[in-house]
Amino acid sequence: MRNLRYLFLIIFLGACKPTENIYMYEVNEVEVTQAGIDKSNPKSDLEFISLAYSDLFGKTIPDNTLQSMALAYNALGDKALIADLIIRNMLNSPDADVPTAQEMRADVDGFITAAFKKLYVREPGEYELWYFRSLIESDSEITPEIIYYALLTSDEYRFY
C-alpha cells in the first residue's frame, strides 16, 4: 500500500513537469537516385550502332552504312575498341550534328542539357550539370566533340 502511494506520487510529479519544445535541426530528406538508374537493358551491337548514328546525324542509318559498320564490328574481337573506332569515325564526319565550341560556351547549361537529352534521353542531374559547367568554364581546351565522344563511349550510352 505504501509502495502504491509512492507510485502515484511519481506519476503526479511527472505530470506536473513543464512541457518542453523539442527542436530538431536537420536538412529536409531528399530521395537520392543514381543517374540513369532505370536503364537496365544493354543495347545490342546493332542497336548501339544504329542509335549512335541517329543521334549524331539526326536520321535513320542507311542499310549500307549499317552493314558496313556491322561488318567492321564483327571483324575485331575487342568490341570496345571497334565501337570506339565507329564513334570516332562518325564524329569526324562534317555531317555530324555536334554544336560548335562557340555555341557551347554561349550557353553551357543549354549545351549540357541538350547533349544529355539527345544521348542519354534524360535531363542531367544537378551534380552532373555542376560538373560539366565547372569543366567547360575552367578549361578552354574542352570541345563539344570531347564531351560528345565521352558520352557516346560511356557505360550509360550502352544501356536503355
Partner: protein, 433 residues
C-alpha cells in the same frame, strides 16, 4: 616458454615470407617461366580441307614446291606464281609428321578449327553460334603464362567471319574473354566496305584523350551498369587499345596508298583471300611481334565444286606460308626465336562428289571417311630447338593427332607447367625437339 614460442613462430613466418613466391594483385603466383623452347609460336592452320594425297603424297605432282622437293605439278588451270620466297624447302627446316590424324568427331571446318585451337575433339553437338566449350590455346597462354602478358601478345587472324571470330575465347568457367586473344578478320575489317565507317576516325591529341577518359570515368561512376565481359569482347589495356587503333589506321592508310596491291609479291588479280590474310598476319607480326599468333587459310575448300581451283589454291597456300616464314625470319625479335606450326584442320574424302569443274574433274567433300581424317604437320623452328629435316611417322604407323598441337604450343612457350592437370587429352609432340 611463451617468448620462445613467439620467436620461433615469428622466425618461421619471416622465412616463409622470403621463400614463398610473390603473389601478383591478380592472385597469380609470380614464377617466371624458365623452360621455354622459344619465345614465339605462329600456328598456321593450313585449313579448308587438304588431302594428304595432294599435299605430302604429291598425287597431282608437287603442288607445294615451297614445302617439298619433287617435280612441279603440270595440272592445267594453275596460276603462275613467283618463285618461292624462301630459298630452301621448308620441309628441310623442321620436322614433318606426314601421317597425322584427326581421329574423332565430325570433319567440319569449324569442328576442325575448334579442335586445333582447344586441343579437345568435338562432336556433332558443336554450337556454331557460341564460343567453344573448352578453353582455347589463347586463354591457356594468357591465364597461365608467367609473368602475365596482355592480349597484345595473342592474336587470332581469321580469313573469314561466320563462326570463326568466336574462337578467341571459350565459355569455360574461369577462362573467357578476359583471357581472349585479339581476333581480327583483316579482309573484312580493312576493306573498301568498311573504309567509310572506320577508316577515317577522329584523331584526338594526347591531352584531349586524357580529358575524355576523365569525363568518361565521371560518367561511369554515376551509372550502375556495366556491359558483361562477353559483350565487350576480349580485353585490351588502354595503352594496347591505342596501339591497335593506330595499327588499324595504318592498315587503312597503306590500303588507300596502294601498298597492298600485289600482296606478298603476287599479282592482285591472282591473289586470293588466303594471300591477303597472310599479308595482314605478317603486318601483325611486324607491328606487335606477338608471342602467340594463329592464322588460318581456307581457300582450298573450293574443292567441293572445283578440284582445279583446289589445286590452284593449294599452291598459293604453299607460297603464302613460305612468305610468312620469310617475314618471321626478317622481323627483329622473332627471327630465330619462333616456332611455326603448320597443320590442316582435316582432310577430304577418298571419293569425289558429283560436281565437275571445267576440266571434268570431280569435286571432293569431307564427310568423315578415313581419308578425311588423314592430315600432315610441318613444324619449323630455330636450329638447336627444332629437329631439322626429320620425318616422324608413316602410313602404317601414324604419329600425332590434331589435339596434340595445343599441348605442344604450351610446352614451347613454357606455360604448360602452370596449367591445371587433366585439361588436355593430347600430348606434347616431343619428337620435334
Amino acid at each position: 616458454m611463451k617468448r620462445r614460442n613467439f620467436i620461433k613462430k615469428t622466425g618461421v613466418a619471416t622465412a616463409a615470407a622470403f621463400a614463398a613466391p610473390y603473389i601478383l594483385p591478380s592472385g597469380r603466383l609470380f614464377a617466371r617461366t624458365l623452360s621455354r623452347k622459344a619465345n614465339h609460336v605462329v600456328f598456321c592452320l593450313f585449313a579448308g580441307g587438304v588431302r594428304n594425297m595432294e599435299s605430302v603424297h604429291q598425287n597431282e605432282g608437287n603442288l607445294m614446291p615451297s614445302f617439298f622437293a619433287g617435280a612441279n605439278s603440270t595440272n592445267p588451270g594453275l596460276d603462275p606464281l613467283p618463285a618461292s620466297p624462301w630459298p630452301v624447302k621448308l620441309r628441310t627446316e623442321g620436322t614433318l609428321f606426314p601421317e597425322m590424324r584427326y581421329k574423332e568427331g565430325p570433319t567440319g571446318h569449324f569442328n576442325g578449327h575448334t579442335v586445333a585451337i582447344t586441343g579437345v575433339y568435338t562432336n556433332t553437338g558443336l554450337n556454331l553460334r557460341a564460343n567453344p566449350e573448352y578453353p582455347t590455346v589463347f586463354e591457356y597462354y594468357l591465364k597461365h603464362n608467367s609473368p602475365a602478358v596482355t592480349a597484345k601478345n595473342a592474336w587470332w587472324v581469321s580469313n573469314a567471319l561466320g563462326p570463326y571470330p568466336a574462337l578467341n575465347y571459350s565459355n569455360f568457367p574461369g577462362y573467357g574473354p578476359m583471357y581472349g586473344a585479339n581476333h581480327i578478320a583483316p579482309t573484312s575489317l580493312v576493306s573498301l566496305a568498311t573504309y567509310p565507317t572506320i577508316g577515317q576516325p577522329k584523331q584526338f591529341q594526347f591531352h584531349e584523350e586524357e580529358k575524355v577518359m576523365e569525363i568518361r570515368e565521371f560518367l561511369n561512376k554515376n551509372f550502375n551498369q556495366k556491359l558483361d565481359n562477353a559483350s565487350a569482347g576480349n580485353y585490351n589495356t588502354p595503352d594496347d587499345a591505342a596501339e591497335i587503333r593506330a595499327f588499324i589506321k595504318t592498315m587503312f592508310d597503306k590500303g588507300v596508298s596502294g601498298q597492298f596491291l600485289n600482296p606478298l609479291g603476287v599479282p592482285t588479280a591472282t591473289a586470293n583471300n588466303d594471300i591477303f590474310t597472310i599479308l595482314f598476319a605478317e603486318e601483325v607480326i611486324k607491328n606487335f611481334q606477338p608471342e602467340l599468333l594463329v592464322v588460318n587459310m581456307t581457300d582450298v575448300d573450293a574443292c567441293h565444286q572445283n578440284y582445279t581451283q583446289y589445286c590452284n589454291n593449294l599452291r598459293k597456300a604453299d607460297y603464302a606460308v613460305a612468305h610468312l616464314w620469310k617475314t618471321i625470319q626478317e622481323t627483329p625479335g622473332m627471327a630465330d626465336d619462333t616456332v611455326l606450326i603448320i597443320v590442316p584442320e582435316h582432310g577430304r574424302n577418298l571419293e569425289g562428289n558429283t560436281v565437275t569443274d571445267i576440266y571434268g574433274r570431280f569435286g571432293i567433300d569431307h564427310t568423315g571417311d578415313n581419308t578425311s581424317r588423314e592430315i600432315f604437320s610441318l613444324i619449323l623452328g630455330p636450329t638447336g630447338v627444332i629437329n631439322k629435316n626429320q620425318t616422324v611417322g608413316t602410313a602404317a604407323n601414324p604419329v600425332g593427332e590434331s589435339i596434340d598441337i595445343v599441348p605442344t604450343i604450351a610446352h614451347i612457350l613454357g606455360f604448360d607447367a602452370h596449367m591445371p592437370a587433366g585439361m588436355l587429352p593430347g600430348r606434347v609432340l616431343t619428337e620435334i625437339f
